[in-house]
Amino acid sequence: MNKNIFYFFLYIILVAVGIPWYWPKDSQSLLLGVPTWVIIAIFCSLLASILTAYILIKPNTDEEK
């Protein structure tokens, strides 16, 4: 699979998991003092940041010489 398509799907997954549309509406579970879905959203955002930084920093063949 083309790497760009692979990255695109990773972003889709991170957004799909980061937005708590699937979370039970009456959930009261807490983690580190905040609702658990908040921690999951922060974690997905962190993963998106790491992925973006990786794509930017990794050696690229079409980069300027």
Binding site: Y11, V15, G18, I19, P20, W21, W23, P24, K25, D26, S27, Q28, L30, L32, G33, V34, P35, W37, V38, A41, I42, C44, S45, L46, A48, S49, T52, A53, I55, L56, I57, N60, E63, E64
Partner: protein, 495 residues
């Protein structure tokens, strides 16, 4: 900020010294100029290194409103505002789609404005002009909003009447235009760098002090959950389906529109090298987390411990949080002064970037078009400086006249709907040579009409300018893209 304790002489002296230091930086930037050219003035000679590039990107993307507005928004909607981290990250993700390649082309073609690239790629004047107009309209609205926010901030910290608003707008705008016209992007980027450091430091200490003052976050969450049960709200609960759709819309719309801000594109041109640009963007990818978390935590503590604010008062909640910190200790007072300076700094850094970019677009995209052979670079730089003064004077008058009218500033939401329409030209056009100018132009026209009309339609499924929770600009982008792609395909077939 009208909830703060009156500032003492020491605090005013600190803020004054800070503001004067910006002028000194402008003077140093002027001294560092290598040549009297547009590239040197508007793009700092295309030599921005990693730390300055990162800090100027940060100070430009995160305005004073990020902290003020986002703390107020958290107060209104609760924990779901944490999802704003995703849209701030999506802006950097969207840079991946075009920034590195755009940088490479700009290096060989000596671009100054976004329209320079469009003219080079499509060679179609109407398309370049419409993109310049969209950029100028979006930036003018943005600049006006910053000027009005500066006036309100000065009015708030002086605890005075309209005269402090007017004085604040004129004084701060004059400082911006002086250092901006002295040193161009070099001055703006250097002052942005200082403002970025002040912002990061001030808000990191604020976070520590908030925990020291209010204690664990779990207690605040418990209070908000109890308030939810009494009031029937969902501020500590999982957002409902409509809210989730709106967040998805924000992530897509803000990513594709704010990454195309003309001043952001100029920072891409101004990077020293592609490696510097990529590293700067890589660091930027991590900035949504600390900034948004601080704004959300401040909003959550305010919601739990300063309850009862409603309507426009919720926008002032950050001022209330600062007052609590001010009264807490001597250190708290000092930190609140630093944060006040940081907020003024953030507003000014956003305004100075917008002003410089508007000036460059006027000079390069409009003024030069009146001449068969363009005037010398020295003349154009001078015209750009006059444009900055003239344009700012106009906006100062508007900011003063409209000081009690917020509806114009509320149009700020519409700028996302406008800017996103240029995404196909940049993000698809840069990679695929088969994309043709005329279909892209008509796609933009169609997208703009739809995006501007939808918010004013009175239909059941349209609420607050959004269709089923999705931005009008995103809805307009669908026919925009279809026209650009199908039109280009038909053109290709014809040939």
């Amino acid at each position: 900020m009208n909830n703060l304790l009156p500032l003492g002489y020491g605090a005013w002296a600190f803020i004054s010294v800070y503001l004067l230091s910006l002028l000194v930086i402008g003077w140093f930037a002027k001294k560092s100029r290598k040549e009297n050219t547009l590239s040197d003035f508007y793009l700092a000679g295309k030599g921005l290194g990693l730390s300055v590039l990162f800090l100027t990107l940060f100070a430009t993307q995160y305005s004073g409103n990020t902290f003020f507005g986002f703390t107020g928004a958290t107060y209104r909607v609760g924990y779901s505002w944490i999802l704003s981290m995703h849209f701030m990250t999506s802006i950097v993700v969207c840079y991946l789609l075009f920034a590195p390649k755009l940088y490479r082309i700009s290096k060989t073609q000596n671009f100054i404005t976004p329209a320079d690239y469009i003219q080079h790629r499509f060679n179609y004047k109407a398309l370049s002009i419409i993109i310049s107009i969209i950029g100028t309209v979006a930036l003018s609205n943005y600049l006006l909003a910053q000027l009005m926010a500066m006036g309100r901030a000065m009015q708030g910290i002086s605890a005075g009447g309209d005269i402090y608003y007017i004085g604040g707008v004129i004084a701060l705008a004059t400082i911006i235009v002086i250092y901006g016209t002295m040193g161009g992007l070099r001055a703006v980027a250097w002052t942005d760098a200082i403002q970025g450091v002040v912002l990061l430091f001030g808000f990191s200490v604020l976070l520590i002090m908030l925990f020291e003052k209010f204690g664990a976050l779990s207690k605040a969450t418990e209070i908000i959950a109890n308030m939810d049960q009494i009031n029937g709200t969902r501020k500590a609960s999982v957002p409902d389906a409509q809210t989730c759709r709106t967040w998805l819309s924000y992530i897509i719309a803000l990513g594709f529109s704010l990454s195309l801000y003309p001043q952001a594109i100029q920072r891409i041109y101004a990077a020293k090298s592609e490696k510097t640009l990529k590293k700067g963007l890589a660091v930027m990818a991590f900035m949504p987390m600390p900034t948004m978390i601080i704004a959300v935590i401040a909003g959550i503590f305010a919601l739990a411990y300063i309850p009862g604010l409603e309507g426009a008062a919720t926008d002032q909640v950050f001022g209330q949080v600062l007052r609590v910190i001010q009264e807490y200790s001597i250190l708290g007072y000092g930190i609140s002064i630093l944060i006040l300076s940081a907020i003024l700094a953030a507003m000014m850094s956003t305004a100075d970037s917008a002003l410089l970019t508007i000036s460059s677009m006027f000079t390069k995209d409009i003024y030069t078009k009146f001449f068969n052979s363009p005037p010398s670079e020295k003349t154009l730089t001078l015209v750009g400086k006059f444009c900055s003064w003239g344009f700012l004077a106009l906006l100062i008058i508007l900011a003063i006249m409209l000081r009690d009218n917020t509806s114009l500033v509320k149009l700020i939401d519409r700028k996302i709907d406008l800017l996103i329409q240029v995404a196909p030209a940049f993000m698809i056009g840069i990679h695929f040579t088969w994309l043709k100018a005329k279909p892209v132009f008509w796609g933009i026209v169609c997208g703009l009409i739809i995006a501007l009309v939808i918010p004013y339609l009175e239909l059941d499924f349209i609420s607050k300018g959004k269709v089923f929770g999705f931005h009008a600009g995103l809805v307009g982008l669908i026919p925009n893209l279809a026209i650009a792609l199908i039109g280009s395909f038909i053109y290709r077939e014809k040939k």
